[in-house]
């Protein structure tokens, strides 16, 4: 309820702003002109919560700099992508062509992000991806104007491969949804795990977004591996973790996975998730000055603790800010802007972040353990891990 009242108000205000903006006869001075930011994120459906967190994070960073980035006021254009890839090309071109945004920011769902990437490449638009981890985006589809402030599927899965080897597991079963992000996670994991001498005895997939796991759990119990590696997120992750515990597997066969398994849904997972070990580029209890300040500011503004998605949104704005500051807010200096963005070092709540040649974050991947309703950091799985950016010619 609260959100919808806000969104109505926000819509009303933005409509008024748009109305003022198109009014003729305004002096067009470089300092006065706004930077148009197009937010294409899910505001309805399964990923609505993630979309809101990213938006909040982005707006928090803008607000911290007095509503400006690089000295220029920011104007937002918002489109709900519904996590529907079929509508993605149209939604993206709506922002680029109708609203003529300077920067496109989005999105959560990898399929939608791939379509956005294509539209951005076709129109040579500046695109910042605050979540979707499909390897291709900073692989074969990489482009000078495309940046990512989150992760690649490969990154957190690869780190988990190393962790599971260190923990002495040799024989592992993997289970994931059958879509590219799931398959890429499993591939990243397998790469690290089999290089180090481990063996994946069976790769199991179920169609996205099915959640009837019982027959797969039976299969796992019959195979009796040393450990299980899974990729699930959101509602599916909640159900999987609970089913895994209910099937009595939690105590006999340890469960691991990229941190999406336990992020944002711990409240729903309850006891079943306690003690789970995951890897991700953010964690609770990092206890660095930057993170503490970020958490406090976020909680003050939105009355809830930030999650990894909020951090990624926040960093998207920080990245844009770095570029705009370098060109004094003159976004038409595209080459200089991109150069500054690519070479910046972000002081992110997650730690220091730089960017690879393919514009994917180079970052520490943390090892976390579920404790109560938090993913507590217990160490660093891999320091400054960079995606290999396979297939990127840039």
């Amino acid at each position: 309820m609260k959100y919808s009242a806000h969104s109505f108000l926000g819509l009303f205000i933005s409509l008024v702003i748009v109305g003022i903006g198109v009014e003729p006869g305004q002096p067009a001075q470089a300092e006065e002109t706004k930077i148009k930011v197009g937010l294409m994120l899910p505001y309805t459906g399964t990923y609505a919560k993630l979309g809101n967190a990213i938006t909040n994070g982005f707006k928090l960073a803008v607000a911290e700099q007095g509503g400006k980035l690089g000295g220029r006021p920011i104007e937002f254009f918002t489109v709900d992508d519904e996590s529907n890839p079929a509508k993605a090309p149209e939604n993206a071109s709506k922002l680029i062509k109708r609203d003529a945004v300077d920067v496109l920011v989005g999105t959560v769902h990898s399929g939608v992000a791939l379509a956005m990437t294509k539209v951005a490449r076709d129109n040579k638009a500046l695109l910042i991806i605050p979540n979707a981890g499909a390897d291709e985006i900073t692989g074969p589809l990489c482009a000078p104007t495309i940046f990512r402030t989150s992760f690649s599927a490969w990154q957190s899965a690869y780190a988990m491969g190393k962790v599971m080897l260190e923990r002495g597991h040799k024989k592992v079963v993997t289970l994931s949804w059958k879509y590219s992000f799931g398959e890429q996670s499993v591939a990243g994991f397998k790469e690290a795990f089999e290089q180090g001498g481990g063996k994946v005895v069976k790769e199991m997939y179920l169609p996205f977004p099915q959640v009837e796991f019982q027959s797969y759990l039976t299969e796992i119990a019959a195979l009796k591996p040393d450990a299980v590696f899974v990729f699930f997120a959101g509602a599916g992750a909640v159900k999987f973790v609970k089913d895994y515990a209910a099937a009595g597997l939690k105590d006999s066969i340890p469960l691991y996975g990229p941190g999406f398994l336990t992020d944002g849904t711990l409240e729903a997972q309850g006891d079943a998730a306690q003690g789970l070990i995951t890897t991700l580029h953010y964690a609770d209890g990092l206890n660095t000055p930057k993170d503490n300040a970020f958490r406090e500011a976020y909680q003050k503004e939105y009355h809830e603790l930030p999650d990894v998605y909020a951090v990624q949104g926040y960093d998207a704005a920080q990245l844009l800010s770095a570029g705009l500051t370098a060109v004094n807010g003159d976004i038409s200096q595209r080459d200089e802007l991109i150069k500054a963005m690519a070479s910046t070092t972000l002081d992110s709540p997650r730690g220091t972040v730089t960017f690879s040649k393919a514009h994917n974050p180079v970052q520490d991947i943390y090892l976390r353990e579920v404790d109560g309703s938090q993913n507590k950091v217990i160490g660093v799985a891999v320091k400054a891990l960079a995606d290999p950016a396979r297939g990127c010619r840039m």
Binding site: S7, L11, A88, P89, G111, A115
Partner: protein, 349 residues
Amino acid sequence: MQQIVSRLQLPLWLSLAVLAAFPLFELTFYTELLTKIMIMAIFAMSLDLLVGYTGLVSLGHAAFFGLAGYTLALIAPQYEAANLWLTLGVAILVSALAALVIGLFVLRTKGVYFIMVTLAFAQMFYFVFHDTDLGGGSDGLFLYFKPDAAIAGFKPFDLENTLHFYYFVLISLVVSYFLLCRILRSPFGHALVGIKTNEHRMQSLGYPVFYYKLASFAIGGSLAGFAGYLSACQYGFVNPEILSWHQSGSVLLMVILGGQGAFYGAAIGAFVFVLLQEFLSSLTKHWQLFMGVIIVLLVLYLPGGLRSIGPLLRASLLGKTANVKPPAGNDPPDIAQEESANDRSDSLH
């Protein structure tokens, strides 16, 4: 007759003129939006042939739309443009064949069964593309170049050009419209309407009803494939969602919104539906609520679709009963409506 000609033809030609002139305003985004709407209009007209004229309420029509799109994405070479005429032919052929095969199954059923079975078959195709590696799974496939229209070295137009693509779709829409009207005017078309009105009578008159319905189903499927091909071209992207049952539901809505049993009605439905969706979703994130309420009200109070507003208004002004009645469940279908539709197609030639 003369009256019908003047009353119906004028708005049709006028709207065609507006569509033809629209790109002059140079509103790129809206030109693209109109392109999309015209593609959906072809899609909706293809379904109207089944729903409005043959009495086959299909809730799986998106299967043929999506199948043609996937065909294009799968046969197009990755690093160069595909041949438009060749791929278009293949895509339509695939849709037609699929419609024939599915038709053999689904046409064994009637009524409620038909609705559910068409839905289920479409869902099967959805899962084929969604779950297997055939079409890139749930992420779909990209098409990096729009098909090339060259014939023996001569290139009449370039689909990469937004304007050319717009006019290509506009011409496709007009051709589809006249083609459908022509089909309806033929003895075959009369037989279809007869089947919708009274299947048993047609059967006892010796018509091979099953094969007539199958042919209609295949024609509808092919035309839906044509629309799906154009849609895949426009965005250079196919995804399982284009075969989803929501897509089938939306296109059925367009047909009813405009008023079934008149191809221009289906086209109007497509325009109104897409524009309404654009408008509502720009107003609120809960646009589905308003869309749902509009649908419910439409069914309850305007079952003849928007097309029936004119006659209803005229009737209430003149104090007479409207000549477009809402089609009622067990009553015989509105024959006057069908006949006026036929007159209309006559008058267009």
